[in-house]
Subunit: 156 residues, 2 copies
DNA sequence: ATACGACTTAAACCATGGTTTAAGTCAAGA
DNA sequence: TCTTGACTTAAACCATGGTTTAAGTCGTAT
């Protein structure tokens, strides 16, 4: 059975593996997003596989729109152990709600944009915006009628 | 038949009607998001209903994550008339793709967060994170197993 | 007449999330 | 030994999207 030596990585290697500039990694560490970072005697950061896993984990939080301060708070609570479970749970539940609001808002915006896509497809075909602009609802595709109604799209 | 006088609004009234600080409205105008703004002789902005409609329209673009510069570009093209239809169509199609990527990314993040919600529900119940952390996949809810697999969630 | 509140401007300020720069240290190879 | 490249730091810089401030102008009500 092969024994994987616990390799350590410099910031350049970590940057490569994570697909993220080294400056960003330094910025994250400075802001408390990478706890317990090891260093060589001369001060060079050493990342192990666990650090890389940790950073991928942080990336998930970032993808959810969580601000850096809140991620740091969460990490600090995590380091304090099981006594902070309830507080971490609140943070995560709030984040879930925030993400769901964001998604709902983006879905509305997507519909608006889809209407505009249709509008410009028709306009490009006709050579003028007057054609889609003045099209009576009953000649529009069902979906566009629905969106126009819901988003209160005016004549622009 | 009642004849609606074409009322004009001050920035304070527009702010109230749009639910947006007056400073933001000034900022938008300065950045070319509100074309052809009327003024009184003494320089006070006058908004008509069409301006308000226009601003609601701009809000839809903003909700889609479109940067202010790109909205301004779009508006400038709009003002040039039908000769810019193709260019506007490209902008809108790019925006649709961008919004769809954003939604997909957020949906992934939402799944990660949902997993964490479940994790902390179990941890809170048990009083320790060890319970969800060491739970074998076959004891997890089907959805959580799937998410953990897909998001490559480690032991944190 | 004058005080008040709402408006005007340019410019400074702020928060977020990084990126870039300048100056220096270190280890390894020629 | 000397050069080279990768690393270090603090601090400055940048972009985005506004908000706040300071100083001043209007129109109206008392």
């Amino acid at each position: 059975m092969e024994h994987h030596m616990a390799r350590m990585y410099t910031i350049g290697e970590a940057s490569e593996l994570l697909g993220m500039p080294a400056s960003t990694i330094r910025f994250y560490e400075k802001n408390g997003l990478i706890p317990n970072m090891q260093r060589t005697g001369s001060g060079i950061r050493l990342f192990d596989d666990e650090d890389l896993e940790w950073m991928r984990f942080v990336e998930h939080f970032k993808a959810s729109g969580m601000p850096i301060k809140e991620i740091r708070t969460f990490i600090e609570l995590y380091q304090q152990g099981d006594s902070t479970i309830e507080e971490r749970r609140r943070i995560i539940n709030n984040r879930r709600d925030a993400v769901e609001r964001q998604i709902a808002e983006l879905e509305l915006a997507r519909d608006f944009i889809k209407y505009k896509c249709w509008f410009y497809d028709v306009a490009a075909e006709a050579g003028t915006c007057d054609v889609p602009r003045e099209m009576p609802p009953e000649k529009m595709p069902e979906e566009m009628r629905r969106i126009k109604e819901r988003c209160g799209i005016s004549s622009f």
